[in-house]
């Protein structure tokens, strides 16, 4: 049974929205970070689904680049989070209020 492409695109839109909501309402940087990864993977799913619809492999090729970028982003992001944790011993973006207005 073939699943139509629009289902995949719909799923990716739902995943992307969940990611956006996660970044906006959660206060733990790790969870916000996971939500961002969810957004990137939603885009990956959309790229693959669209690639099948338009009939060229570009979309799937892009996904590999995005996965590599996402891995680099994880490395940098976790390093920053560890640095903050060493200085603060707590992990919440509400604490990051040294600079305001």
């Amino acid at each position: 049974m073939m699943v139509p492409e629009s289902y995949y695109v719909g799923l990716s839109a739902v995943l992307f929205t969940i990611g956006v909501i996660g970044v906006v309402i959660r206060r733990n940087p790790l969870v916000m970070f996971m939500s961002i990864e969810l957004m990137l993977n939603a885009a990956n799913l959309a790229l693959v689904a669209f690639g099948r619809r338009v009939g060229n492999p570009d979309g799937q090729a892009v996904v590999f680049f995005v996965m590599a970028v996402a891995a680099a982003e994880v490395a940098v992001g976790l390093a920053i989070i560890v640095t903050i944790f060493r200085l603060r011993r707590r992990l919440s973006v509400d604490d990051l209020s040294l600079m305001r207005w």
């Binding site: 695109v9 990716s12 992307f16 990611g19 970044v23 940087p29 916000m32 970070f33 961002i36 957004m39 990137l40 939603a42 885009a43 990956n44 959309a46 790229l47 689904a49 669209f50 690639g51 619809r53 338009v54 009939g55 060229n56 492999p57 570009d58 979309g59 892009v62 680049f65 995005v66 970028v69 680099a72 982003e73 940098v76 992001g77 390093a79 920053i80 989070i81 640095t83 903050i84 200085l87 603060r88 973006v93 990051l96 040294l98 600079m99 305001r100 207005w101």
Partner: protein, 484 residues
């Protein structure tokens, strides 16, 4: 399904970027060499890489090159932006040599990361494909996130790094999803082919949403309202030499890519995005200037002022065409020299072994360090737009292009905003020349390289202000192939 064809490998158009990347790799290797050596050597290698890239860029002027299936387009437009980026990176490097040593944060990685982020910026300006655009943007941003957190023991620096990272990655995700939707609507990620695919049907909902998400990402990178919230915190918390790079180089690269996407891929929908940018420009100018008035921290004030300047550049973008686009490129050049210089003075001033960043710290600076005070005053006057300095000419061309294109009200708002901006810039000058210092006076942290950077920036703003015509002509010639 078509057969896969290996594109011919033409490294020529990538040469400036490759020189910078090569210098970055060399810096990392030298840093590991067992022979103990000063870190100045690494700084010199990094600077040599940037100067080499600048020379390679200038040598290619007029020779348009496309490589890798039009993924990299090194035309005059990209070359002009590359020159701006090279100047920004070189000034930032010169300012940082003594600054990072004084702050005990000197490391080989610092210079390597500056070079990697510069390579990302240069590639971003030359991106002819949304994939390259995304990759270059990430190369630039990931390096900058780390650089912003360079002072690992300072809470403000780590906080800036964290805020920059979370919001930057958030914006990048929007951009990527926009790219995915655009690909779905057009079947390609190449800017030229996108324009051809949507010719006549630019209101396809999938395409509109995709481009909208892409513009959200650009709004973040160019620090336009309402995506500017990260700017003051990051500019304030990051090491000042890194702030100078974020404020000049990354902004130039983002504007370069934005102009290319708007004028190439969205050629058919110009009335729509012009109307959108009109509103964004007014908001960006006004919010930036009004918020800057309330600041007591000099770095934060300059951050809001850089938001306002992004607004002026958007005015040029709204004007469109050769004169509008050319004026934005010229503005980027003047803005780079001026802003890098202003942040440069901040890196050279310290008070009680700490950075002097409050406006009040600069009280009475003119009595003890008249040259430094005069330099900062000139940079601030150029930011206001006082003739004959570069800032005035930059504004003149941008506003002139807007008037000629018929955007009279937008120009009125922009001019009123520049008048408003004079207040907070002049306040610093008043402090330097007419107030007595409270507490320990600000001292000059000696730095030959930093002084050299200030001289270069001063020569830049005076030369661009006195003889702007050849540079404006070059900027307009650079935009010409895009607008056609």
């Amino acid at each position: 399904m078509t057969d896969l064809v290996m594109p011919p490998v033409l490294l020529g158009p990538l040469l400036p970027t490759l020189l910078v990347l090569g210098a970055g790799a060399l810096v990392l290797l030298l840093d590991l060499s067992p022979r103990p050596q000063g870190k100045e050597v690494l700084g010199a290698v990094a600077l040599a890489g940037i100067v080499g890239a600048l020379l390679a860029t200038l040598a290619r002027w007029g020779k348009s090159g496309r490589a890798f299936h039009d993924m990299v387009v090194l035309d005059n437009f990209a070359l002009f932006v590359n020159v701006v980026i090279c100047y920004a990176a070189a000034l930032s490097l010169l300012l940082s040599v003594d600054y990072v040593r004084r702050s005990r944060a000197e490391s080989g990685e610092y210079y390597a990361l500056v070079l990697f982020t510069t390579a990302g910026m240069m590639l971003l300006a030359a991106a002819g494909d949304l994939v390259v655009l995304f990759l270059a943007l990430e190369l630039m941003s990931l390096s900058l996130y780390v650089l912003a957190g360079l002072f690992t023991q300072a809470l403000a620096s780590s906080e800036a790094s964290m805020k920059y990272f979370i919001l930057g990655a958030f914006a990048s995700s929007f951009m990527l999803y926009g790219i995915a939707l655009t690909y779905g609507a057009t079947g390609t990620t190449n800017l030229d082919r996108i324009a051809a695919a949507v010719a006549g049907r630019s209101h396809d909902p999938l395409f509109v949403i995709g481009m909208g998400l892409l513009l959200v990402g650009f709004g973040f990178k160019t620090s336009s309202v309402p995506f500017h919230m990260w700017v003051p915190d990051v500019y304030q918390g990051a090491p000042t030499c890194v702030t100078a790079l974020i404020a000049t180089g990354s902004k130039a690269a983002a504007f370069g890519a934005l102009i290319r996407v708007l004028t190439v891929a969205l050629r058919g929908a110009q009335p729509d995005w012009t109307a959108l940018l009109w509103i964004v420009a007014v908001l960006t100018m006004t919010v930036g200037n009004v918020a800057a008035i309330a600041q007591s921290n000099l770095k934060r004030m300059l951050a809001y002022s850089s938001i306002a300047h992004a607004g002026y550049m958007l005015v040029g973008l709204v004007a469109g065409g050769m004169s509008g686009g050319g004026s934005v490129l010229f503005y980027l050049l003047t803005y780079t020299f001026t802003t890098a210089g202003a942040f440069g003075v901040v890196t050279l001033c310290e008070r009680a072994r700490a950075e002097a960043v409050e406006v009040g710290d600069y009280a009475g600076l003119a009595e003890r360090h008249p040259v430094l005070a005069a330099a900062l005053a000139l940079f601030l006057l150029s930011l206001i737009g006082v003739p004959p300095l570069a800032g005035f000419v930059g504004k003149f061309y941008v506003f002139g292009a807007a008037v000629r294109a018929g955007y009279l009200w937008l120009t009125v708002v922009a001019v009123l905003n520049s008048a408003l901006a004079a207040y907070y810039y002049l306040r610093v000058v008043v402090y330097m020349y007419m107030r007595q210092p409270e507490g320990a006076p600000v001292t000059y942290a000696p730095s030959l390289a930093g002084a050299l950077a200030l001289v270069v920036a001063l020569v830049g703003i005076v030369a661009l202000g006195v003889v702007p015509a050849p540079f404006v002509d070059l900027a307009q010639a650079a935009v010409a192939p895009l607008v056609r």
